[in-house]
Symmetry: C2
Subunit: 192 residues, 2 copies
């Protein structure tokens, strides 16, 4: 950020009065520009013993498999966002059951909120951002071709919970050094 979005004047990094962090502050009009993490919302859509994955038609990780999910928009709830993303990416209609996993990714200032959901019919098809949309049983999951660590970690928790017959609401962090490979990360769950 170099310029003030309110008046067009130059911004400087400064710690505002009563604050304890550097913010972009406008020299001219004094507006303080806060920058905060983004929420990514999506779902694990179940059909019998299978879950729905989408193969990405966009960067990053073009061609890799992911859960339907995307950035939460202003004016919507995380649940509405999960339904919208599932419709946009997989043309699939679901009923949300519970918040299954909340994963912080502080190195990129994102929080994933992934809901457990019930697919309402088999009438799904790739949206513009997907090459392919498909149901996978646990044995069929393409573990080595998943787009992001958060997807693999969520699916592992999901199948473990399903095996023991009870779904928890999991909260954890996916910790990665900026610039490191996607395979190098550490998971830290709340309460463990």
């Amino acid at each position: 950020m170099k310029y003030c979005s309110q008046c067009g004047g130059p911004v400087q990094l400064a710690i505002p009065e009563g604050d304890n962090r550097e913010r972009h502050v406008c020299d001219a009009c004094g507006t303080i520009h806060y920058q905060n993490p983004n929420v990514v919302t999506g779902c694990i859509a179940e059909w019998e013993d299978k879950v729905l994955l989408c193969r990405r038609a966009i960067k990053p990780r073009y061609g890799y498999w992911t859960l339907p999910a995307g950035f939460l928009e202003n004016g919507e709830s995380a649940q509405q966002g999960a339904l919208r993303e599932t419709l946009e990416e997989a043309n699939a209609r679901v009923e949300l059951l519970s918040l299954f996993a909340t994963f912080n990714m502080p190195h990129i200032s994102q929080i994933y909120m992934l809901f457990r959901a019930r697919l309402l019919d088999l009438d799904f098809a790739p949206g513009e951002e997907s090459l392919e949309v498909k149901l996978f049983s646990e044995q069929q999951i393409p573990w080595d071709e998943l787009a992001f660590p958060v997807i693999g970690e969520t699916l592992r928790l999901y199948f473990a919970d399903r095996a023991r017959g009870h779904f928890d609401s999991h909260v954890g962090d996916i910790l990665r050094q900026p610039g490191s490979s996607l395979r190098e990360y550490r998971v830290q769950m709340l309460g463990s």
Copy 2:
């Protein structure tokens, strides 16, 4: 938003290619400026049968009681944010136990994430943004002097769960018409 934070040029509302929503787009450099909801993170800090509330020394709702909570910052997890806010507002140290309530407030594009926490000692005191910090039993909660609907709804769920001996992870929406009074709102919980 009137000006581009990257180049200082004027922005227009337009639907970018491949998108389906209006964004602020820069005429000069083409940067798309996304605006997304903010996360508010905090906790219900328990000590025996009591919970910790802070009386606000800041607007809005100066003088009203709230749970320690505030905006999640870039580079931190929701858990770290909850610990930091509890330290800043109440000088209190806690151990987080679980994510207790996630409340969407789509009318102001905020999501509250409130953790259940154990107060580690009684050595707390008002921070700069608090007039007073105090432990309250269920009977002592100043229900009519709570700062925001989300605080009352969270405390009601908390005491109900405590009474039945099991804490769930609750997800819901607090729905309010813009400009309506703080008492006029509707709650919609996921799964109910």
